[in-house]
Symmetry: C2
């Protein structure tokens, strides 16, 4: 394992640049002396689109592809029509770089705000498919804007795409103490995609006799997530269901300010991309109110992915300590970044 990291940085829109700055601060603090970190910033997002009309050029893609990993802040701005940046940039990167594993861990830290009563124990990870489902951009509209309009969205699911993410989820489940994997889908309604997912899940499961499995409809999964989140260990699910349940998972386990994610290409043919689950929050951009913890934890996922396991663990410990010590006194984005950087260095 090389002790150098070539990192592409996409600060993006809204609070993106602020939280990314803290992520880099902590990354620099945690890396050992002998590790070399090179970063290159990419100007992508609303500002560039307004200035040049570019979302992501072939040159951008070629340059991004040369890095070991990508750190992304957030994409999205109210001045840009809904979907333009999301589909033309964020999802484009996930698809181009074949980020078929969208990794979203949820762990309820001590002293964190959960809307749930009692003292639930939450420690699970959602493995969300990242390159298929209703996110493919398949669909269209006929007689647009007339009373006879028909608009469609097509969820595309392939054996190739489903099997590789299901297999990844089994591997992750196998490596965890509880070794439990739950498939979340809606097989009773989406019978074609549902059968492909369920059959693949069952078939691949035969290779992992040590992993306990169960199946849950997505609607029921939302119930368990608030009533009994402790039951989950690893969840594997499709792109859209994963989007929905990971926001809920973030909400019950400390809030979206703490939720990290990785868009991972396990084959390493392309750089993986790490980003907080939260969006660009334009309403608080520039106020110093953004919590950089989600980005900092995304840096931990990045380090883990690149083999810096000890450093990743140090960041998670530092964030845990920081969060546990929070007493409600206000700190700026940058102060939180400083505090966590001090803990990882110390």
């Amino acid at each position: 394992m090389s002790r150098s990291i070539s990192l592409a940085v996409i600060p993006g829109d809204g609070i993106g640049p602020e939280v990314v700055a803290q992520g880099l601060k902590v990354l620099t603090a945690v890396l050992p002396q002998d590790a070399k970190l090179e970063t290159k910033e990419y100007d992508l997002g609303a500002k560039r689109w307004h200035a040049t009309g570019d979302l992501l050029t072939d040159e951008d893609t070629a340059a991004l592809k040369t890095h070991d990993a990508i750190l992304l802040g957030a994409i999205g701005d109210p001045s840009v029509p809904s979907g333009v940046l999301e589909r033309g940039l964020l999802l484009k990167l996930r698809f181009l770089f074949d980020h078929y594993v969208n990794l979203r861990p949820s762990r309820l830290l001590p002293n964190t705000a959960t809307p749930l009563a009692g003292d639930p124990s939450i420690d699970f990870v959602v493995v969300r498919e990242g390159t298929e489902g209703p996110y493919t951009g398949n669909g269209g509209s006929l007689r647009t804007g007339t009373p006879a309009e028909v608009a469609t969205e097509v969820s595309v699911n392939t054996a190739y795409g489903v099997e590789r993410v299901v297999r990844d989820a089994y591997e992750r489940a196998k490596a965890r103490p509880r070794k439990k994997l739950t498939l979340v889908h809606k097989t009773n309604v989406l019978v074609f995609a549902g059968k492909l997912w369920k059959d693949t899940f069952d078939r691949v499961g035969k290779e992992y006799p040590e992993v306990t499995t169960d199946y849950m409809h997505v609607d029921a999964a939302t119930i368990y997530m608030v009533n009994d989140p402790a039951r989950f260990d690893v969840i594997v699910t499709d792109n859209l269901f994963g989007d929905i349940i990971t926001d809920l998972a973030a909400a019950v386990s400390g809030g979206i300010g703490l939720a990290a994610s990785g868009n991972v290409n396990p084959t390493r043919d392309f750089p993986s991309m790490f980003e907080p689950v939260h969006g660009s929050a334009p309403d608080i951009a520039g106020t110093g109110k953004a919590d950089p913890a989600a980005t900092i934890r995304s840096v931990a996922l990045l380090l883990e992915h690149l083999g810096f396991t000890a450093e990743a663990a140090r960041i998670e410990e530092a964030v845990t300590a920081d969060v546990t010590a929070r007493d409600g006194s206000p700190r700026t984005t940058s102060e939180i970044g400083d505090a966590i950087a001090a803990r990882v260095a110390g």
Copy 2:
């Protein structure tokens, strides 16, 4: 308004027959002397399918169509492959009878179990589209069962279908004290369907200047539902998103044992169908453990729909009183039915 009701009763599978019996008990108790109730039971569900292979024959449909409304217990049994009863019977009825408004109220009663901390105030209703979206059965599978399989699911959205349900939601919002309507969708990814929904929502909204509106992505909606459910008044959303968020809504507002629903055809061209949100719960069938409250509240929605407004309100009051008085001592399904029937009669 006629003071007679011709009711089709589909007890269905699992706990269906048990909870429906309590629904009918309360319905009989609440109706005034001069109202005539005629019920006819239909044998539909797992047992009939196993015995005859029939799901829903033309004769069934023709007969069901003659009634003023349908009361359904639950459909679904583990002995039947996933999707067969759901799509061949339950969804078939919703589609055949053009139940384009799937009405799902959430109201947190005093003394009810919510997984949420604090004392949230919850009183909203979800207007879920019932005849389109990913529920149309469009889709298929190519090279099924091979490593080259492609399985698709198509969400179909029409201006016709979206406008009528959006309009219905505005009418309901206008009739409520807070007059607030939230559109839930995923316009930043599902751009074709999203644009149709959002444009329709905005255009129809011009006719309802008294209604305050907002828009929320479905992932964010799950966060608000656990962090700030009080913000919701009326929600309008598509078939699949509605399925997911109404289970979550039920979970935070007293549990699925209390959640009622109506599959409504507001034009009255077809009978509307009322059913608890919960399923057939085969694991507790026959044990007397099922809470009939969800079905009894569905009977209240049925009465409201048929113009028996005072009787509907009496049932809601009786259920509220029953739930508020619960002290944890176990009662059977039938005892709860008796207690609520006594309250509405008394």
